[in-house]
Point group: C2
Chain length 316, copies 2
């Protein structure tokens, strides 16, 4: 039996065929063009059917469709309440799809789906709780606790990136100041890199960025640090400090079995990111006396996590 997991993004719709073991066996993608609710449901169903047909699967072999949306869903009613970047409002998408393909349809928030996808690997090892922290333009968080998604009172899931760690700090898009994502996201890293470059005109970071602050990326400081550049090392240490501060907050509060770090920044070499991060958190965390600690691991599924997790919604 298969499940189809659909990851609805702001620019693309991605559908994956997931087998009974939770493995992604095939995927299809199409650009999202918003015309109307009906057309949207048609596109989603069409994409799912194309996936099935191209892979020589019978409709009857698909037990359910799961879908992750970038916004607020009402899973019980099978409805998308509101999304970011797509003009969806109170869309009864499950029903619209079922008019075309009568199969159970499950809905989730996209960050929650990604966490569910990553969770699968750890659940097989007997773990019951996972926090996925995605380091991108902002910081996304998805929580699986006691084996269940924490959907939140409004169905949006959690926004751990908007946890203030520096009261009265850097202004955030959310209206507060000092949110974790202002410091520990890729954007935060880039800002700190530029600030350090402005103070260190001789840093190799200038060479790496071709002398142009606009060329600075999330890897610039790490690359410089690897070349032995002191200013680069300082940025990396500063960044890991902020990342560790927020992670330790999450760990002290939730004590999950595992925290997974995903997003572009997480691809950095372990020697420069994961290992120093673990060491820093080990010094900061509350339960110093305990012999049982939260594991800090890298996310493994990359961009497929959303599709795989959406497919797993039927079991969550």
């Amino acid at each position: 039996m298969y499940t189809i997991g659909i990851d609805v993004g702001g620019t693309n719709l991605k559908a994956g065929l997931v087998d009974g073991a939770g493995t992604l066996t095939a995927a299809e993608k199409m650009p999202l063009k918003w015309v109307s609710p009906e057309k949207f449901a048609e596109d989603l169903t069409g994409l799912a059917l194309a996936l099935v047909e191209k892979n020589g699967i019978e409709r009857a072999q698909v037990g359910a469709i799961g879908m992750g949306f970038p916004g607020q869903v009402d899973a019980k009613r099978g409805s998308v309440v509101r999304t970011v970047n797509i003009p969806i409002r109170d869309l009864p998408i499950a029903g619209l799809i079922q008019e075309k393909w009568d199969v159970p349809v499950y809905l989730g928030n996209d960050a929650d789906c990604a966490a569910l996808g990553e969770y699968q690997n750890f659940a097989a090892q007997g773990m019951e709780s996972l926090v996925l922290v995605t380091l991108g333009t902002g910081i996304g968080t998805g929580l699986i606790l006691n084996g269940k998604i924490i959907r939140g009172v409004n169905g949006c899931g959690g926004e751990g990136g908007h946890m203030v760690i520096v009261k009265d700090g850097v202004p955030c898009t959310c209206g507060r100041r000092g949110c974790w994502e202002r410091y520990a996201s890729a954007s935060g890293l880039i800002r700190m890199t530029r600030e350090m470059m402005a103070e260190h005109r001789d840093s190799v970071m200038w060479t790496i960025a071709s002398g142009d602050l606009e060329q600075v990326g999330g890897r610039t400081a790490f690359e410089a640090a690897k070349r032995g550049d002191e200013a680069g090392k300082q940025v990396v240490e500063l960044y890991i400090g902020y990342l560790a501060e927020g992670l330790t907050n999450l760990i002290n509060l939730l004590q999950p079995d595992v925290v997974c770090i995903g997003g572009g920044v997480s691809n950095e070499d372990d020697a420069y990111l994961l290992r120093p991060l673990r060491e820093r958190v080990a010094r900061l965390r509350f339960d110093q006396m305990s012999d049982c600690h939260t594991l800090i691991a890298k996310a493994r599924l990359g961009n497929d996590a959303g599709m795989i997790g959406a497919a797993l919604l039927s079991e969550a």
Copy 2:
């Protein structure tokens, strides 16, 4: 059918008789005197039996015993791993009690039990998630999400008070700097009150505290604010600001149905604490667009929450 809930504290053991509706119908208390594991088990069983006998209940009418400990429990093994203030280490307490009274015994962390006790009222209203924040010497947190206790990887439950909200702020007993409880606990409030008094020699807070900084309590600034004292009002506003900052962090991350505020400070008049706190959080929280928000409420059970929650462990 009844359940007995025992709240093991650093100085007292309290046992409550809880009926099928979750109501505390009677309670017994005795001082904790640690001699040996065997004596401890004997004391606990003796207290439970005394409770039953004094209230004319048959042993057979008691379906289970639940116990909350100030520390780390291994609920699955029925064992207390480690406690604060009592020299317990790897104590198989469930088995020891069952040697004397053969009834199911459930274990939990004390803060988690308190949260479970408060949760009962809200669960009856259809709510599935609650965070209990207890404002005392420190800040304790207990989490019930999707109707289940978040026990954490080490069975200690969460330590939301040790979430840094002011990076490099006031040093905390946990080793970090700027933990929420350094600012928003009763101790934090008292520190801020004293600091403000030192700057405002004409404040009525000096009168309330009989001219002695040692006499300053968690109510001093609130009392002064009620009398129209500007310095007192400033302390209250500052305090509520810190309280709101951490609460908003919890809400943004978990989006629970309800956050309950307990502990001594929570007894302040609503006009001076709960209402301004709600207003502040409403301005800070992430989901401004949503029509569905976390309720901020006062805890209702006071010191009974631990006993009632321990009794409810059998259902959680």
